[in-house]
């Protein structure tokens, strides 16, 4: 009997702490969002975060997209050749890249790059009292540190994904034409025929949500980190893991929302 009660108590505690954590995160997100629209605005902070998130993530996102597009072309060729359906490759590549691979892979790359950096920077500021110092210097840390990062994530990721879409298709094109012997004009025509505005748009909406989630996790874990270097380290890990999982979960939810009949 005692064991059962103990189990129930543990389950209850775990549930409560989960709900508490979800509530804290939701409040943090709401506060961060509300500071995006209320002055004063810190354009300088926004600009540097935006550059870091958008511009400096370009190489890694570009390479990821290029190779994934190529891999999709190669894989679907080997699969589809059995059924003499090679002509579908252009369509497969454009669909896979714009709907899924562009936003998800760019998101995961940015989570590892930028989400980690945000958590580490804000976490270090927390454990070295810099966040408290902001407050004593008439500056709201949520407004100064969090809001510009959330906004940067929200805007930068769709732009990155647009680039990833183009390069992913280009990767597929290169493999198809150079390695698999497709005719370039035919491949391009097939690509354009399969390209749908809705796919690209939903991909970009996903990207905006992913960008927001990545920045939110980086800021949240950094902001609440404690306990010196080790604390900052675990905050960074937690930020990347949480952002990646949430990103994949929301990817499923959005796909279900937009594409399932």
């Amino acid at each position: 009997m005692d064991m059962v009660l103990d189990l129930v108590a543990r389950l209850g505690r775990a549930t409560l702490s989960l709900i508490r954590a979800a509530g804290a995160l939701a409040l943090f997100a709401a506060s961060g969002l509300s500071h995006i629209v209320r002055p004063p605005f810190y354009g300088r902070v926004f600009l540097s975060t935006f550059l870091e998130t958008g511009f400096f993530s370009l190489p890694v996102v570009a390479l990821t997209a290029l190779f994934s597009g190529g891999v999709i072309a190669l894989q679907s060729y080997t699969g589809f050749a059995q059924y003499h359906a090679q002509s579908a490759i252009a369509g497969i590549v454009v669909l896979a890249v714009t709907r899924e691979l562009g936003p998800v892979l760019a998101g995961l790359m940015v989570a590892g790059r930028v989400g980690a950096a945000m958590a580490a920077q804000i976490g270090t500021m927390r454990v070295t009292d810099q966040i408290d110092a902001l407050t004593t210097l008439s500056t709201n840390p949520m407004k100064y540190l969090v809001a510009p990062r959330l906004l940067a994530g929200l805007i930068a990721l769709p732009l990155l994904v647009l680039v990833a879409d183009i390069l992913g298709v280009a990767g597929g094109f290169t493999v198809a034409v150079v390695k698999l012997g497709f005719s370039a004009p035919a491949y391009i025509t097939a690509t354009l025929n399969s390209l749908k505005a809705i796919d690209v748009t939903v991909g970009l909406v996903k990207a905006a949500l992913f960008g927001f989630l990545i920045a939110l996790m980086g800021c949240y874990y950094g902001y609440n980190s404690k306990g010196g270097a080790e604390g900052v380290g675990s905050a960074t890990t937690a930020a990347v893991v949480a952002a990646s999982i949430m990103l994949l979960a929301f990817d499923y939810l959005l796909t279900d929302l937009f594409f399932s009949q």
């Binding site: 070295t128 009292d129 408290d132 110092a133 004593t136 008439s138 500056t139």
Partner: protein, 258 residues
């Protein structure tokens, strides 16, 4: 407002973290223009006391008044205004490491729109000179400075807005004795020049006597002694005596385990 209203008045302040009582009924008055030193061991709640007054930590109960106005009951906007009249030098200076020294020094002034960004660089030079630093230091980043210089920049940042109240969190910790004395000297100069009211927390007795007019000792969340800073070394209180003379034997038993 009468002349007898203390600048800072604290009554029966309580704060616990979980089961641990950090502040257990602290009451103190700090008169306008005096320097008040709070001594106490590590973990005695000194930092928490300052953070409560600054509004970085919300106490469980009690009264904190600045110029007779209860900070804890003031609306958020008013609290921000009151907070902007307090300058704080953090223990490890807490300089913003992504900004240059001059941006650090003028951060508060820029936030309050007291100066324009264009004039800030020059203005920072003037403030840096007050803490004995060459204006050219302004273009460096905090990581390029020694501990003593970081403390000076932290002091410059704290006094930049000419606050009514200045807080110092262990200003000499981590510095060699000479640099400690230099920083103490700068603190005294700045406080006198600005006519500010100051609270410093420290466990450095030499520093406490150099900075303080008045002193008090915090032990187990309570102020157990209060008197002139000059009488710290011969207070007659066994707790204070043990602490100031650094004796192993006495009424204070070191709790090595929490």
């Amino acid at each position: 407002m009468t002349g007898t209203t203390p600048k800072i008045r604290i009554r029966d302040l309580h704060k616990s973290f979980g089961a641990k009582k950090v502040l257990d009924g602290v009451s103190m008055d700090v008169a306008q223009g005096t320097s008040f030193v709070v001594i106490g061991g590590s973990g005695s709640g000194k930092s928490v006391l300052l953070r409560c007054i600054l509004g970085l930590i919300t106490p469980d109960s009690g009264v904190i008044e600045i110029d007779g106005e209860n900070v804890l009951e003031a609306p958020e906007k008013r609290r921000e205004k009151l907070r902007s009249e307090i300058g704080m030098l953090f223990q490890n200076a807490a300089l913003f490491d992504s900004l240059t020294v001059w941006e650090n020094v003028t951060f508060g002034l820029l936030a309050l729109h007291k100066i324009t960004r264009k004039n800030a660089r020059n203005h920072a030079g003037t403030i840096l000179a007050q803490v004995g630093l060459d204006p050219s230091v302004g273009d460096l980043y905090p990581s390029e400075l020694s501990g003593g210089m970081q403390k000076r920049v932290g002091l410059a940042r704290a006094i930049a807005a000419q606050p009514d109240i200045l807080f110092f969190d262990e200003p000499t910790t981590g510095l060699d004795p000479i640099m400690g004395a230099v920083i103490d000297g700068l603190i005294v100069d700045c406080v006198k020049k600005l006519g500010s009211t100051a609270i410093a927390i420290t466990h450095d007795m030499a520093s406490a006597q150099r900075i303080g007019d008045e002193a008090a000792m915090l032990y187990k969340g309570k102020l157990i002694w209060q008197g002139a800073a000059s009488s710290l070394m011969n207070s007659g209180n066994p707790y204070v005596d043990q602490f100031t003379h650094g004796r192993r034997e006495g009424p204070i038993s070191m709790e090595l385990r929490r």
